[in-house]
């Protein structure tokens, strides 16, 4: 029998089918006593490795696009992706990593110039719930997290995650004690909030109140250095994006926000100070500053000007200098608007 199998090279379609059959078996037979089960797992790991090699090539050969397309088509023809995601915790580490890489790669594979992964995910959008909850399980977080990040390359999928309840949990995920998991969650969070401009703009304006309340209190005022540093950088990236200009104007008109930014400007960390400046400048440059913002800026004028006098990044940066000069001019020229 063995010889027979060997003589016939398996096609990508065969490999996907066999993988699916084994996943179904694993899924339906949770009883782990059987030695038969061990064999199935070994076979499954081997198949996953082969699938990965078709998609990525190996150190000797580049991937063949025809084979990739066949594999992708067969994969999404039935529920293979769901099976992979559901069974992932049962696999060993190497098989998990292979599966993660396969899922990641499939998101970019085109079949007749269509991203069929996207169609599949739209029809099975609840899979995103499993992936996003992965951050709650330290053993699965890096695998599910990597898959999730690839899936939100599709705009519709990203919109689903943004508007889901998971979005609130990210504020905690990115502060998990395990650095590798927290950093992975932060990378996903950033991707969600920067990748698809129009979706992000819509999300931010619809969810402005709770989102920025959380953002300020949990992230910008976090006791955790890394959280503050990443949050202030991301805030700058979001607000300075042209597509978010409405949100930016709103953000830069709030005295509470200004207070938080001014505190960040006083941090001992240069990196945080510099990033905070890039947001602070929006408050100063705003041509329609509300009276309370002007009031705060005027009250702190001398302190601010003193701060900016010897404020510069480690590397020469002309743009920064120009921004700074403008901010200094703005603040110096402010008039208290009493009456």
């Amino acid at each position: 029998m063995k010889g027979l199998f060997k003589s016939k090279p398996k096609t990508p379609v065969d490999l996907v089918r066999q993988t699916r059959d084994l996943l179904i078996y694993v899924d339906n037979n949770p009883d782990s006593r059987e030695s038969k089960r061990e064999d199935k797992f070994a076979a499954l790991s081997k198949l996953l490795r082969e699938l990965k090699q078709i998609l990525y090539g190996n150190s000797e050969a580049e991937p063949v696009s025809e084979a990739c397309a066949q594999l992708t088509q067969e994969f999404f023809k039935e529920n293979t992706l769901r099976l992979v995601i559901v069974c992932l915790p049962k696999l060993n580490l190497e098989a998990r990593k292979d599966a993660t890489q396969i899922v990641a790669n499939l998101q970019r594979q085109q079949v007749q110039s269509r991203l069929i992964a996207c169609d599949y995910l739209e029809a099975n959008i609840d899979l995103m719930d499993i992936l996003a909850s992965g951050y709650e399980n330290p053993d699965m977080a890096l695998h599910y997290g990597a898959m999730l990040r690839e899936c939100i390359r599709h705009q519709s999928v990203a919109r689903y995650v943004l508007e889901s309840e998971h979005m609130k949990k990210f504020f905690d995920f990115i502060q998990l004690p395990n650095f590798d998991i927290a950093a992975d969650a932060a990378a996903t969070f950033k991707e969600l909030l920067t990748r698809h401009k129009s979706t992000v703009a819509e999300f931010l304006s619809k969810n402005y109140d709770w989102f920025f309340a959380e953002y300020n209190s949990k992230l910008l005022e976090s006791p955790n250095y890394i959280t503050r540093r990443q949050a202030i950088k991301l805030l700058g990236d979001m607000l300075l994006d042209r597509s978010n200009s409405a949100v930016m104007t709103r953000y830069a008109s709030s005295r509470d926000n200004l207070r938080i930014l001014m505190n960040l400007l006083r941090e001992s960390s240069k990196s945080i100070q510099i990033e905070a400046f890039h947001v602070f400048k929006l408050f100063a440059a705003n041509q329609n500053k509300p009276a309370d913002i002007v009031g705060i800026l005027v009250a702190n004028r001398s302190k601010l000007l003193r701060l900016f006098a010897d404020f510069k990044p480690d590397k020469e940066d002309e743009q920064f200098e120009a921004d700074k000069a403008q901010v200094v001019r703005e603040i110096a020229g402010l008039e208290p608007r009493d009456n």
Binding site: S59, F179, I226
Partner: protein
């Protein structure tokens, strides 16, 4: 008669058990505490620009670990992304020959990466301390085979290591070997291109493959194989290969523009012939150092090479390498004098070396500095990169090397080399101004004090130790004298005026100090000027304000 045949069985049984243990552990996170108070810092065992490595005791599990403490505030956003990737890589890898992270967490603005403590340290530090002329082929075969298994695993996983060298091969007291430091490792599956090629330049120049240095076409797994070959030579000779060329020849090679790569290789071959190494070794290294990456074997194939066929077990390493070897801690301490000296000297030359990443575990910094070219007062003198091109002697060396290896050195190639140097310089020296101002010889102790405070060190020597400073200054003086001697010798050999300018730099310690003082003075002036211009601006603004309020 029974015993010898029994032993290996017992051994393999035991290792099987261990492996099973490891397998159980691999899918579950092994529970090391994520809290700095659960670790008792025992000793500093390594140091780089933005990281310190400690030996520490994990009090909840009662195990000795190594903790790499990385200063995140000194890393840019891009570095940050690399650090994230490294943390992820290290927690997802699982192979007996690859160093894994137990866990990582942040402590104020530092990231702590908790790793197994490899008590014998890096092969580089073992060589430096006890085998300056290289180690025996039997040992090399074992070390390289273990390393290669780790490398094969990495490549299988889609990782490039990108910085293979003896300094990144670690050894434990039982002789086990692990490949470490993924500070620069890239994950090819994450890059968007499908062709498994990377275009960034990283690594340590001596070990770099030509296609990495040129970086026209990107590079792939085969670049690691090249570095592996260089590492083989490093283990055999005690230093990487170029250092074996008599310096006059290497100098000539570097001065002549347009020398072809084959020349370099010819020299390489000559070196191989001159030594007493076996033909299998030479053949294996030859395969790795094929100029054409496509013709180099994969890690998988290389493992089948005859050179590895009769490799002995790791016990052999314990008997032959580790006996009488000073501990990692001692080696680090002993290197401290020289280290302090070398750091300050580097700053004088305004030529911090490229080794941000090289603080790894058990790897003592001294050797890095030495290889980086300044410390050529040690036996590696021939290799010396001192060169007519300005004051960045080390850089100019790698630049030149790049030129020589290039078949037809055109202008654009040269430009590329320069960016390469520039890029590395940027990544390593944050704020040269600050660095220069603060980094007089006692920078190490100062820094240490800061680091230790946060780490709540036990029995560490914090603050400035007068003895250490005096000692390091003495060693600095000694090595400067040494350098002077060598430069004079070189001058007499070459007789070319162009070297005089670079020679003058090392003339005497007084001169160097004078130069530094001069440099600092210039900087001070610069700062003063900036300050006054800012004051002017302020005045102007004040005027502006008053004129505005007048209106």
């Amino acid at each position: 008669m029974d015993l010898p045949s029994l032993n290996p069985q017992i051994h393999s049984y035991a290792s099987k058990m261990a492996h099973n243990d490891e397998q159980d552990r691999e899918t579950k996170r092994f529970h090391y505490p994520l809290d700095p108070n659960s670790y008792q810092i025992l000793q500093e065992i390594g140091r780089g620009c933005s990281a310190i490595v400690y030996k520490a005791l994990c009090t909840t599990t009662s195990t000795v670990v190594a903790i790499k403490s990385i200063d995140l505030d000194r890393s840019t956003t891009d570095d940050f992304e690399n650090i994230r990737r490294e943390a992820k890589t290290m927690s997802l890898l699982s192979h007996p020959n690859v160093l894994k992270a137990h866990c990582s967490f942040t402590v104020a603005s530092r990231l702590w990466v908790v790793m197994p403590f490899m008590s014998a340290g890096s092969l580089q530090s073992i060589i430096t301390s006890s085998f300056p002329n290289g180690i025996s082929e039997n040992c090399i075969s074992i070390i390289l085979k273990e390393t290669l298994m780790g490398l094969r695993y990495l490549h299988d996983q889609g990782h490039l290591h990108r910085d293979i060298k003896a300094g990144n091969i670690l050894m434990d007291s039982n002789g086990s070997i692990k490949l470490a430091d993924f500070g620069v490792s890239a994950f090819v599956y994450e890059s968007s291109s499908r062709c498994l090629m990377l275009k960034e330049i990283t690594g340590t120049p001596y070990w770099m493959a030509p296609e990495v240095i040129h970086s026209h076409n990107g590079y792939s797994y085969k670049a690691d194989i090249w570095s592996f070959g260089i590492t083989a030579l490093e283990l055999a000779h005690g230093r990487p290969p170029l250092s074996h060329l008599p310096f006059s020849e290497s100098l000539a090679m570097k001065i002549t523009k347009g020398i072809r790569f084959s020349h370099y290789q010819k020299e390489e071959e000559k070196v191989l012939k001159n030594t007493k190494l076996s033909k299998y070794f030479k053949d294996m290294v030859g395969l790795c150092l094929n100029q054409d990456p496509l013709k180099r074997p994969t890690a998988e194939k290389l493992l089948k090479h005859y050179f590895f066929k009769n490799s002995k077990g790791c016990d052999f390493l314990v008997k032959n390498l580790l006996q009488g070897l000073p501990s990692v801690e001692r080696r680090f301490k002993e290197s401290k004098f020289e280290r302090v000296g070398s750091m300050s000297k580097e700053q004088m030359e305004d030529d911090n070396d490229e080794e941000v990443e090289d603080f790894l575990l058990g790897n003592n910094v001294k050797k890095i500095r030495r290889i980086s070219g300044w410390n050529f007062n040690v036996e590696a003198c021939e290799l010396d990169p001192v060169f007519p091109v300005g004051d960045t002697s080390y850089r100019s060396k790698s630049l030149d090397e790049g030129q020589h290896m290039n078949a037809n050195p055109q202008k654009d190639v040269f430009a590329k080399q320069i960016t390469f140097g520039g890029e590395s310089v940027i990544s390593e020296t944050r704020g040269e101004l600050d660095g220069n101002k603060e980094s007089l010889p006692n920078v190490v102790t100062n820094d240490g004090g800061g680091g230790e405070e946060e780490v709540d060190i036990v029995g560490g020597s914090s603050g400035v130790d007068r003895e250490v400073v005096v000692g390091s200054l003495m060693s600095l003086k000694r090595s400067l004298d040494d350098q002077k001697e060598k430069v004079v010798y070189m001058l007499s050999m070459v007789g070319a005026e162009e070297t005089i300018c670079s020679g003058g730099e090392h003339d005497s310690s007084e001169d160097s100090l004078m130069q530094m003082i001069e440099k600092l003075r210039l900087e001070l002036d610069n700062e003063k000027r900036k300050r006054s211009s800012l004051e002017m601006e302020l005045e102007f603004l004040k005027l502006h304000i008053t004129s505005n309020s007048d209106v």
